[in-house]
Symmetry: C2
Subunit: 117 residues, 2 copies
């Protein structure tokens, strides 16, 4: 990320690659890209790359943006999502980002508010 | 933009270059990139490229994201911002994105709600 820690905004061109830290402070992955709700302008998902972390069978995994919080001291994002929670997340198909039923199950799974309300 | 009109989400990797149309239906510019508020996850600004449109002396101009709305039939964004409004927008320096005073004046100028409330 190209910003300094005092900058509250980040460019959509720069956010990709930003580190994501787990509750224990270790780096668990990074942001591959964000998915933005065109209507509301809210960021809906961070699609995270894990690089084989936790034995995930896939490289990328969408997690609700609300499950991440920005840590100014690290200039990165922190999440309380555990390996168990990640591995138990609802399975998805290629149409996950336009499947409201999958979205509801996913946000319920992570225990965060729906981005579309 | 790589999405179909039925897709409510857009990737931060794909939004750049999306067309922006004026109230009269003509294409007035495009989205160069978005500026995202790290804390709230809201998109704060669309930094638009105008390619010399309206005699603007600069290539890029940040406009409040709330001043754009998504038009599903065009798969692009529409804005009611006029040439006069654009040209009268508060001047900015390189630190505009961390200058709350400039941000307040800008959002007041465009008549849209602050993204940080």
């Amino acid at each position: 990320m190209q910003t300094t820690s005092s900058n509250p905004l980040v460019s959509s061109s720069d956010v990709n690659g930003t580190a994501v830290y787990g509750a224990d402070g270790s780096e668990i992955g990074h942001i591959d890209h964000l998915m933005i709700d065109k209507k509301s302008g809210n960021v809906a998902y961070a699609v995270m790359g894990f690089g084989g972390f936790l034995g995930m069978g896939e490289d990328h995994h969408p997690v609700p943006w609300n499950a991440l919080r920005y840590d100014i001291s690290r200039d990165g994002f922190v999440t309380d999502i555990s390996a168990k929670t990640l591995q138990g997340a609802p399975e998805r198909n290629d149409d996950w980002h336009r499947d409201r039923s999958w979205e509801e199950r996913t946000f319920d799974h992570y225990g965060v508010p729906y981005y579309w309300l």
